[in-house]
């Protein structure tokens, strides 16, 4: 799965689609801004979210921050490895540090950016 197949939000989340499931994470820019992540309050499987709802909370040494749902859906899986190794998000935000999966999900394509558009967005903000 390449970065070209990922979608990005202005809140610095990403998701990529495999079949009818969306895998969600935060961007490398977001993990850098947060600093060392020490805890992830993972959602329960079955949690239903609308786009822009608080999906979960990540805590760094200094602060707790919401991660918003990039699309509406139902949490179908969480990255259990983050319970003991939250640093995976810092090490690999767009791959091993994924947060959870949504299935089914309802994309809202208008709000989303491609990797190239997100890169330009970061430069402008």
């Amino acid at each position: 799965m390449s970065i070209m197949e990922m979608h990005f939000t202005k809140d610095h989340e990403w998701f990529r689609v495999e079949g009818d499931e969306a895998t969600v994470g935060i961007t490398d820019h977001a993990q850098q801004a947060l600093g060392d992540i020490t805890f992830v309050d993972l959602p329960k499987v079955g949690k239903v979210v609308s786009a822009h709802d608080s999906l979960l909370v990540v805590e760094s040494v200094k602060a707790a921050s919401d991660v918003f749902a990039p699309v509406a859906g139902t949490v179908s899986a969480v990255n259990e490895k983050l319970a003991s190794s939250p640093e995976l998000i810092n090490q690999s935000a767009c791959a091993d540090g994924w947060l959870c999966k949504l299935k089914p999900f309802i994309p809202a394509m208008t709000e989303l950016m491609t990797a190239e558009q997100y890169k330009i967005f970061l430069q402008e903000h």
Binding site: G35, F39, S60, A64, N90
Partner: protein
């Protein structure tokens, strides 16, 4: 609007890629390569901290000893040449204006080191209460300060400064020459062995660079905070404030019994009455952190407030300080922290949370 202040090392921090923040009106590095890496490096090797933002006052003259004895809760008369002690500057009503360290060069020559955010207030307070025969000089701008902390700190200081600090006792200091009189103090704010170095401001960049060249890496205020918290050391503005006395801060051990310092009468009265709230340490298993300002609950009622809370990278659980109703302040007692997102089970413990080997 007061413009933000910069230390003489500010350019260095920016060159090193530090993330800079406003801390008590100072433009300071919060982290360089990451709070956790810097924390662990301090515990395992050594780190270099820019502490030029702290206030430094020189108090000299034949009346200096008596003046300090009146101003501070520190047992001034017991301090020997080359020794320093921790204590408080109190208001008349016992409220803590600041916590500070007092260094004695000799009976007529002293240095007090205060917090960054309280420096102007302290200076005003002290200057208004000095008697004749005492000279007060704010040397914050001319005498710079960096800290070297960690198990390798003493050998690094020895190598870089060419001074024998290993034989120096805890809370002892020595002077040496580094483009003028410099000073090395066996003190710190991390719970590790370490040295606080004071040199002429025009030489501080050179000294900083020498430590970097010797392989000592810098650490920012983020790691300084997790390190001091694990070591059970209070931070003014969080654990200590004007709204409380050393009785509420559970720190009467830093108050002399023998001197008539400002605030003594109020403090003695408070002590005999007993404080309604006291400062305690707490510990939460797991990684989800309690943060400053969050309420401590017992049976659905608020019984306290978190003053500092963080995941402790070395102790590998969440630790913190809280102001708590006295009846709940029992080691082993359990209270709940309401983070607004979760209820966390906390146990009252006696700091420090971490002790170096």
């Amino acid at each position: 609007m007061v413009s933000i202040q910069k230390t003489p090392l500010c350019e260095r921090h920016i060159q090193l890629g530090a993330r800079m923040v406003d801390f008590s009106g100072w433009y300071m590095p919060v982290q360089y390569d990451g709070i956790l890496a810097e924390h662990h490096r301090t515990r395992k090797a050594a780190s270099l901290f820019d502490t030029c933002h702290m206030g430094r006052f020189q108090v000299t003259g034949p009346g200096a000893l008596d003046a300090l004895d009146r101003l501070l809760t520190t047992d001034i008369k017991s301090i020997k040449d080359g020794q320093c002690k921790y204590g408080f500057l109190l208001r008349e009503d016992g409220g803590i204006l600041d916590d500070l360290i007092t260094y004695r060069f000799n009976a007529k020559s002293w240095l007090i080191v205060v917090n960054a955010g309280t420096q102007a207030k302290d200076r005003e307070w002290i200057q208004a209460r000095l008697s004749t025969g005492v000279t007060f000089t704010d040397v914050s701008g001319t005498l710079a300060k960096i800290d070297v902390q960690g198990p390798n700190a003493l050998s690094c200081v020895q190598k870089v400064c060419g001074i024998e600090v290993a034989s120096l006792g805890y809370f002892r200091f020595m002077t040496f020459d580094f483009g003028g009189q410099a000073m090395a103090s066996r003190t710190g704010y991390t719970g590790e062995k370490g040295v606080e170095l004071y040199v002429n401001t025009d030489r501080i960049v050179e000294l900083w660079d020498r430590f970097l060249a010797a392989g000592v890496k810098p650490a920012g205020l983020g790691a300084r905070d997790t390190l001091r918290l694990e070591a059970g050391l209070p931070l003014y503005g969080h654990e200590l404030s004007e709204e409380m006395t050393p009785v509420e801060a559970s720190m009467m051990r830093y108050v002399t019994k023998t001197s008539d310092y400002i605030g003594r009468a109020a403090l003695m009265q408070r002590q005999s009455q007993g404080a309604a709230n006291v400062l305690v340490g707490f510990r939460i298993e797991g990684r989800q952190s309690a943060r400053a300002g969050q309420p401590l609950m017992s049976q659905g009622r608020q019984v306290g407030t978190v003053t500092s809370g963080s995941y402790g990278p070395t102790v590998q659980c969440v630790i913190g300080f809280a102001r708590l109703e006295r009846e709940f302040a029992i080691v082993g007692a359990r209270v709940q922290v309401d983070t607004g997102r979760a209820i966390l089970e906390a146990m009252i413990v006696k700091p420090p949370f971490y002790k170096a080997d």
